[in-house]
Symmetry: C2
Subunit: 252 residues, 2 copies
DNA sequence: ACCTGAACACCGTTCAAGT
DNA sequence: ACCTGAACACCGTTCAAGT
């Protein structure tokens, strides 16, 4: 049986009442785990902007100040969330014959992860992976590159850029999802994008051709492809680029 | 001679006083131009976070609501700022023999632009260039690619990814600058980064080697290089990648 | 037509006080 | 040791009212 104490106030006077409330289960203690769980729940439901120290406290039925006993600040909270989702990703056993495809697959899995947890990409932007989850992925990608014969310096810098790329793509996608959610009437991201692309193609086509000869001529190419087509192009670009430049950075 | 009217209030009572104030020059009318100027000034001085509709109104000596007569919202303000800095960039006359180097130079110039206007990279993140300034750059890059022989579809998608890359690099740099400004004691970004890199190398080196064999072995590579080294690597990677994949997207 | 004050519904963070 | 209410110093946006 839990005791529940309520304090009322009237001017300088405080009235304190303690009630036995047998229906109320004792509140679960706050932990980092529970805080991160709640943050991910809120993000998944209503996007990054719906998560604040206040909304989080509300969701956990506590005061906002209580959160600060477990996380230093908003930035640390974001780090914990990112680390959590990173730990969900499986890194492959390196196969030297197949490094390029393995690399692509890890990056595809990363994008899936961001997609599975809407709002997280925004939190990950500009974050350096120093937590265990992020390091595991870096370790996996480095292993695939280096056992595949890529020069260490190229491999190291590649991991950075590739992570940036995936995060940025996921972020843009989540911006579009958000934009669709508030306004637009659509409820399917694919359809919505096709609509916007059609309008963009139209708009580009109507620019003055003497000022924008290439944009007007290639309006279709500029707007073509859904997120996956563009992402696959990016993977192809990055991995082919890595193969091409690797040796130039062998002793940098 | 300007008339200045002041309203005082005491409960439901309003007292209005009009004074002739010959010292006061008539307030300049608010325009989009002036608003964008002020926003860029604030960003340059104190970073992206220092710019709010309120601080902006304060800087322009007006009320925050007045801004909304000229810009729809915060998002439009950011777009105007980005468009302004884009218009500062010179795009080259395409030289088909030299497309790869020309492309790199445009991207270097973009980074310089973001650097010259601290805080802007953050505003540009996740923005689709539909304004004139951004379109001019897209046009220039498309022209260099296509006259250089790159397939149109590869060229179009490349512009997207390259812009993303530059913006992300600039954004990360500005995060570090900010982080240095509030705390850390340093006042030179180079020195500060060297310090952080030294600590990171140390930290990576001390991870359990059986869990992180590659990260521990290549700790130096992971943290080596300043912003410019890494950026040049990225340019090399992207442009070499484009040369490699271009033909695969000739009829996509 | 343009500008303004005041309000509305929010932020992140701190701190003295409580249990 | 952990939790809480209340406060501090902010946000973006709207709107009736003023000139």
């Amino acid at each position: 049986v839990e005791k529940r104490t309520k304090t009322f106030r009237a001017g300088p006077v405080r009235i304190r009442v303690t009630t036995d409330d047998p229906g109320a289960r004792p509140k679960e203690r706050l932990t980092r785990e529970r805080i991160v769980d709640a943050a991910m729940g809120l993000m998944a439901e209503k996007g990054y902007d719906a998560v604040s120290m206040r909304s989080l406290a509300r969701a956990l039925d506590t005061g906002q100040a209580s959160l600060y006993a477990h996380v230093a600040n908003r930035e640390e909270l974001d780090q914990l969330v990112i680390d959590r989702i990173c730990s969900e990703l499986d890194v492959p056993e390196p196969d030297p014959e197949n490094w390029a495809e393995q690399l692509k697959q890890v990056l595809r899995d990363c994008l899936e992860l961001y997609r599975a947890h809407p709002g997280t990409a925004r939190a990950a932007m500009g974050m350096i992976p120093t937590q265990e989850g992020g390091l595991r992925i870096a370790e996996g990608m480095l292993a695939v590159c280096i056992t595949g014969g890529v020069s260490p310096q190229a491999a190291a810098w590649f991991c950075d850029i590739a992570a940036l790329f995936v995060c940025a793509v996921a972020h843009e996608e989540q911006i579009w999802t958000q934009r669709m959610a508030d306004g637009s009437g659509h409820d399917d991201l694919h359809e919505f994008h096709e609509d916007v692309d059609a309008q963009l193609t139209e708009a580009f086509g109507q620019l003055p051709p003497h000022l924008f000869p290439f944009v007007t001529s290639y309006a279709r190419e500029l707007t073509s492809g859904d997120g996956d087509d563009r992402f696959e192009f990016g993977l192809d670009l990055l991995v082919s680029g890595l193969a091409a430049v690797s040796e130039r950075y062998r002793d940098a």
